[in-house]
Amino acid sequence: MKARAGAPLLVSLLLTSGCAVSYQSGLDPAGTQAARITELWWFFIALLGSIFIIVMAMTVWPLFHRHRGINQEPLEQRHSPSAATERKLTRVVAAATGATILILLALIVLSVITGRATAGNQVTGNHLVVEVTGNQWWWAVRYMNDDPTRILVTANEIHVPVGRRILIRGMSQDVIHSFWIPNLQGKRDLIPSRITTEWFEADKPGRYRGQCAEFCGLQHAHMAMWVVAEPPAEFEAWMAHQLDRAPAPSDPVTQRGQEVFLGHACVLCHAIRGTPAAGQVGPDLTHLASRISIAAGTLPNTKGNLAGWIADPQTIKPGNHMATVPVDSEDMQPLLNYLESLK
């Protein structure tokens, strides 16, 4: 029985560890909190895995113990072990139960300690507050600042400085979503009418992917985001750039592209700071071209993908709330050039 179960176990272990990526994985921590949880996981596996093997060995032992009388016929209808055997077994079972209780108590203590360490809600003073609002099916992101002119609005991508504590304030515009960047920290639900919080701290620069973990409707599968952890200096530069308005069109083609954008229904939902476009329904596009992906992690941010997305969003992400806005074919190229210029 065990040998046959072992085969798929081994195969699947090889397959998944061999192929799966490390930028969306709870086993490749890039932050202090995730690292603690991974340690806890390996401890669990070692301890509970050994117990499992022992219990299984005990279970199959009678099968390999010939004198236990497997399938021997005829046999007494009822077998009554001696009172001494029963007493001995009672002591063994009691001891095993005692051991179970002690192990579980230890695990509770360990779990609570790890929980306190990873909840990380000690006030540090120097933390960055990022407001994340779940929407069907994208993430609105707002960097808070005491200075209102330095509040940054963006979408589907969060940049964080390495080594600084981040406080996520989670909210939802519609249904329940869940914010989860496995390499950095466990998940936190975003619940309408409530504000939930989560702390994390990245300690390795890199790009980490996360996706919505609470079923939120039709396109739950395509509600992903990127977190980019970078050295503080790079982060500050990114921040300063993102706070800028969108660059003005520099040539006639992008000029035309901006006119196309402003002349179509795009502006009803999207905002581009520095232009009259100020829609609040969809993601802010001020620095669209600087982002890793479009459509909430659905497609890499390339010109071709952008063209496909604008022309036919309902095929790429069926049921999403982006309307198909008819754009004349001769207008498409300028529009794309303009959007690509929003570095």
Partner: protein, 635 residues
């Protein structure tokens, strides 16, 4: 064989007095009588067969999901269809298969094991079955006419609210729950009374068979858990959807977390409602096939009782990610881990039974060994998930999918298959093919692990639940393909099982009343049992009456055979108290269920149908309780 022949059914040519039993318990022929049946064997079988049909449907849905996820960016099912199918899969398995099939096993086996002739409320029993069937037909009737819920089997608000789930799918889902929960409550009430009051004389509390203990505990859990889900689905959700209340609508000050609390206050015990009867089956099968009484009877019973209590203190571990206060969460971590203690005690006692028994390795025992492997593994991941920091990583990922399939398929389905192989001779009068049974086990066991083991790793590698597709770059393709291959293997196992059942039904060797040389009373009745189970009600003085010397086996005398009489005994010591005449067969439970069903189905569309439901149900109940001079009472 040292069993008293007086317990068995009399030969047809026996004395007139004995033949009266057949007449008193006869149901008559024809379609009208078919709807009037109130004997527990018939109703139990109907529950089991209906539940297996739903298992088949739920299994097909699972296969469809696995085909969609077999490779990245697959377009076999679109997002809308996929969401409907996973909702139907969860709903079917939880509400229409797992609970009813356990109820069915209980309804069939408990009266036999207790040495009585029927459940305490035979008409309520029939009513419960018809309500369950109506609920299943409502859900699938709607599904096949194009209306399917797609907000998950848990239907969290506000996603399931009127704004985000248009159409009637969620309403149908919510009202289907009313049906199945009413049915579960009926069974719970009648089983509790049966187990407390209709036991064979001499069957004191510490002689109750293990499976009956498990059904007793499960029934109490049903009574406390099921009202919560009806409150969540009907009062909160359905009223929000149909008459514009705002209990759980955050836009109007309602609280979506309130729904989650109430739902999981039901939802967690639900899992134990499914698997505690399975634990009882495991103990019962182990006793027979290791040819000794269960080791540590009081410890096992008390563990199950403790399981039943602790089950109501765990619900928040489904909500760790919602950001509840830490101190409360720590409490629920501790409570969740306590299940490890009560489950551990039972597993240790089973192992002790195995060690000191004389094993007979039947197909049923194969399933028990498979159960221990899968269930213990699922228990280990359960302990991990009880830890909040780890849960926050694993929650709502495929790790959790793997975990609960290990505990539910391992903890309930494998014992159920074992039970089916074990009690098949009792159900049908024929032996099930052992070789095919063992082959079924191996295919299911390998297929199961192939399907669900890779999911642990997928979850840790970031794959969230309920996604209809995933990008190729994330590298989840191979493990998902493996899982799909496993799912097909499980399907093959299912086909083997069905083939074995059909073949054995027609060509299996005839079974005598006690083919396994078992100890409990159900094996004293004929295979399959007559409608009255026992010609003379047994009197016992031992936990395993069939293993006891013949001089310790007795019969109740002085019962009338020309009406449906059972003996009521005291609830602690099972001392004879009085004779109770059970009602005859009746069409009214069916008509009452039909009346309620018409109204409740209508209420999906308009609130006023509740009045129709009340009126029609009332008419049914009047017919049900219409007083008439019982013809069988003669001076």
């Amino acid at each position: 064989m040292s069993v008293l022949t007086e317990w068995r059914a009399p030969a047809p040519e026996a004395a007139e007095e004995q033949n009266a039993l057949y007449r008193a318990w006869a149901d008559g022929r024809g379609i009208f009588s078919w709807f009037s049946v109130t004997t527990h064997q018939a109703i139990g079988k109907r529950y089991i067969v209906t539940a297996f049909v739903f298992l088949l449907l739920g299994g097909i849905e699972a296969l469809l999901m696995r085909f969609q996820l077999a490779r990245p960016d697959n377009t076999f099912l679109g997002p809308a269809r996929y969401n409907q199918i996973f909702t139907m899969h969860g709903t079917t398995m939880m509400f229409l298969f797992a609970v009813p099939v356990m109820e069915g096993m209980g309804v069939y086996l408990v009266p036999l094991m207790l040495g009585t002739r029927n459940v305490a409320f035979p008409r309520l029993n029939a009513f419960g079955y018809w309500m369950y069937l109506a609920g299943g037909l409502l859900l699938y009737g709607a599904a096949f006419t194009g209306t399917m819920p797609s907000a998950g089997w848990f239907s969290y608000t506000p996603l399931s609210g009127p704004q985000y789930s248009a159409g009637k799918g969620v309403d149908v889902w919510a009202q289907m729950i009313t049906f199945t929960e009413v049915s579960a409550m009926c069974v719970a009430v009648e089983l509790i009374v049966t187990i407390f009051k209709l036991r064979a004389p001499g069957m004191t509390l510490n002689r109750i068979p293990m499976f009956c203990w498990s059904m007793l505990i499960q029934s109490f859990m049903v009574i406390f858990a099921m009202p919560a889900v009806m409150l969540a689905s009907t009062v909160l959700l359905l009223n929000d959807r149909t008459i514009g209340t705002h209990f759980v609508n955050p836009a109007e000050g309602g609280d979506p977390l309130l729904y989650q609390h109430i739902f999981w206050f039901f939802g967690h015990p639900e899992v134990y409602i499914i698997f505690i009867p399975a634990l009882g089956m495991v103990s019962a099968i182990l006793e027979v096939h290791s040819r000794r009484g269960i080791f540590g009877y009081p410890a096992v019973v008390l563990s199950m009782v403790a399981n039943g209590f602790i089950a109501f203190g765990l619900w928040v571990h489904h909500m760790f990610a919602t950001g509840l206060p830490q101190i409360a969460e720590a409490y629920f971590t501790a409570a969740s881990m306590m299940i490890g203690i009560t489950s551990g005690v039972q597993i240790f006692c089973w192992i002790a039974t195995l060690w000191t028994g004389r094993l007979r390795l039947t197909a049923a025992m194969y399933f028990i060994f498979g159960f221990i492997f899968i269930f213990v593994l699922g228990g280990m991941t359960g302990i991990m998930l009880a830890s909040i920091p780890f849960d926050l990583q694993a929650h709502d990922t495929f790790f959790v999918v793997a975990h609960f399939h290990y505990v539910l398929i391992g903890g309930a389905l494998f014992p159920l298959f074992g039970a089916f192989h074990h009690w098949f001779p009792k159900f049908t009068g024929r032996m099930i093919n052992e070789k095919l049974g063992k082959a079924t086990f191996w295919v299911l066991f390998v297929g199961f692990n192939l399907t669900f083991f890779p999911m642990h790793l997928l979850g840790l590698k970031g794959m969230t639940r309920r996604v209809y597709t995933y990008p190729a770059e994330l590298g989840w393709g191979p493990a998902n393909l493996l899982a799909t291959i496993g799912a097909v293997t499980i399907a093959v196992g299912g086909i083997l099982f069905i083939a074995n059942v059909l073949r054995s039904l027609n060509a299996g060797a005839r079974a005598d009343s006690d083919p396994w040389e078992a100890g409990t009373l159900e094996w004293a009745a004929d295979s399959p049992p007559e409608r009255f189970n026992f010609a003379h009600l047994p009197v016992i003085s031992n936990r395993y009456p069939l293993w006891a010397p013949r001089e310790q086996q007795g019969i109740v005398v002085g019962m009338r055979n020309d009406r449906r009489e059972v003996l009521v005994t005291s609830s602690m010591d099972a001392e004879p108290h009085h004779r109770l005449v059970l009602p005859r067969s009746s069409i009214w439970p069916f008509l009452t269920a039909l009346g309620f069903a018409i109204g409740l189905v209508g209420s999906v569309f308009a609130f006023s149908w509740y009045f129709v439901s009340a009126a029609l149900g009332m008419i049914g109940l009047i017919g049900w309780f219409w007083p008439h001079r019982p013809v069988e009472i003669r001076p």
